[in-house]
Symmetry: C2
C-alpha cells in the first residue's frame, strides 16, 4: 500500500536530513506492576513500530533523538540513553518495496537507538500525521513490529536487565514516594521473574539510596506499609561508581 504522506515527505527529507541515518526510541514506563513500552501504529498500514525519525543536516545526533520523540509522541525533557546502532543490510529497505527507488525511506538506513525510563504519568501519548495510535503496551504483550524493531526492543530490555545488576533503577519509573513492594514489583517486571522478599530487601538496602519517610500511605484495609523515596544525591553517585 502506497502512502501519499510518505511520498510527500520524501522530497523534504532529502533536502533537510542526512541520508542513511535514522534514530529509534524505546521508552519504558511502569504502571500497575507492569513494565510498558511506548509504541506507534502507522496511520496508513496499521503496523506497529517504535517512535523514530531522521537526523537533520545541522543537528547533533543526540539532539535529533529528542526532537523526534517530541514530534512523534509529545514527550519532552526525557533523559534518553544511547544503547546500540543497528546496521544490517536490508534491515529497513524492504518495508518500502512498493515505492519508487528514489524514495528517501527506501534507501539503506542505519539506526542509532536510544532508551529511556520515564514516569508513566508524565507522558501523555500524542499522535501525528503518520501515526493513528500512540500508546503504552505491556512488554509481555508486544505485537509484531515492523523492520527489526522487535530486535531493537529486545536489546533495550537486555541492557535494562544488565544495568539492574550493578546500578539501582526506579528514580524515573516510580512515583516520588513508594513502598518496598512497589519497588520489588518494578524489579520483577524488568527481570521477568518473582524475587524473594527478604533477599530483595537486603540487596536493595545495600545500595544505601533509599530514605524511609515518616508519613505512611493511608486508606488500605491492611496495616499501612512504610513509604520510601530515593536519596537523589546518593542515587546519582551510585550510578557513577566503578568500585570493583
Amino acid at each position: 500500500m502506497i502512502s501519499e504522506l510518505i511520498l510527500k515527505s520524501s522530497k523534504e527529507l532529502w533536502a533537510t536530513c542526512i541520508p542513511h541515518l535514522s534514530v529509534d526510541n524505546v521508552i519504558f514506563g511502569f504502571h500497575d506492576t507492569q513494565l510498558k513500552v511506548l509504541l506507534l501504529q502507522t496511520s496508513f498500514g496499521k503496523q506497529w513500530l517504535l517512535p523514530g525519525g531522521y537526523v537533520r543536516k545541522d543537528e547533533n545526533l543526540n539532539d535529533a533523538v529528542k526532537r523526534v520523540l517530541k514530534e512523534r509522541t509529545g514527550a519532552e525533557n526525557i533523559f534518553l540513553e544511547q544503547f546500540a546502532t543497528f546496521g544490517d543490510v536490508n534491515r529497513s529497505e524492504a518495508f518500502f518495496k512498493d515505492y519508487p527507488d528514489d524514495l528517501w525511506h527506501k534507501q539503506r538506513f542505519i539506526s542509532t537507538s536510544y532508551y529511556a525510563l520515564v514516569d508513566y504519568t508524565q507522558v501523555l501519548p500524542l499522535t501525528d500525521d503518520f501515526s493513528a495510535i500512540c500508546t503504552w503496551v505491556n512488554v509481555e504483550d508486544i505485537p509484531e513490529l515492523v523492520m527489526d524493531h522487535s530486535l531493537i526492543l529486545e536489546r533495550a530490555l537486555e541492557i535494562l536487565r544488565e544495568q539492574l545488576i550493578y546500578k539501582p533503577i526506579g528514580l524515573n519509573l516510580l512515583p516520588k514516594e513508594f513502598t518496598l513492594t512497589e519497588l520489588q514489583r518494578l524489579y520483577e517486571a524488568v527481570l521477568g521473574v518473582k524475587l524473594n522478599r527478604g533477599n530483595f530487601y537486603r540487596k536493595i538496602m545495600k545500595y544505601g539510596v533509599l530514605i524511609k519517610l515518616d508519613n505512611i500511605r493511608r486508606g488500605g484495609a491492611h496495616k499501612s506499609p512504610d513509604l520510601y523515596k530515593f536519596d537523589e544525591e546518593k542515587y546519582t553517585a551510585s550510578l557513577k561508581t566503578y568500585n570493583w
Copy 2:
C-alpha cells in the same frame, strides 16, 4: 596539507560506500602490567588516530568494522563489541578543511565505535598506504588524537571499567596460564588504581571462573607462584548471567 592519497580515495569511496557513516576501533591489549591501545599515525600529517574506515553499500555494519580492522592493522578474528555512536556536527569535517567541498571525507560523518580486548602477542601491527605507524601505546601515554578520537577512546575505557564491576575480564587479555598477581595487575591497569591483594583474591574467586593448575612457573628467584587458567565454560556463562 593536502594528501594526494586522500584525494584519490575520495572518488572510489563515493562509488562503493555509504556516505556519512564511519566506524572506529579501540583495540585494547595488555603487556608487562600495562594496558595498551592500538593506534595509527597518518603517513601524510603525522597525526595519531584510531584505526577506522567506512561501510560498503552491500556490507553489514558489524562486518565492515572487522574488514576495516584487518585492512588497516592486519588483525583478524578479533571479537569486536559495539559500544557507542558519535554524531556531533563538526566532529570530523574540520579535519579536512583544506580539501575541496565535494571530498568524501569532508562530509559530515557519524561514527559507530567498537572495542576489543585482544591477546597482545597475537596482533602484529601492520601499516598501509595511509598509515606510517601502527603501534601499541600505553593508555597512560596517549598522544593527542585527531577529531574526537580522544573522546571515543575515553568512552571505551569507561565502558571497560563499568563491565569490570559485574563481569570477569582477562580471557583475551592474558596468556592462557597466568598468576593471580598478573590478573590483579590487569585489573589495576584497567581501573587505574592499586587494589588490596586480599580483597582482590576474595572477589575474583567469587566468580568461580578460575582453575588452579598443577604445574607452576619455574625459574624465578622466589617461591614459584601458582598458575591459573580460566574455566572457559563458566567464564562465558558468567558473562551472560543477569542474576540480581
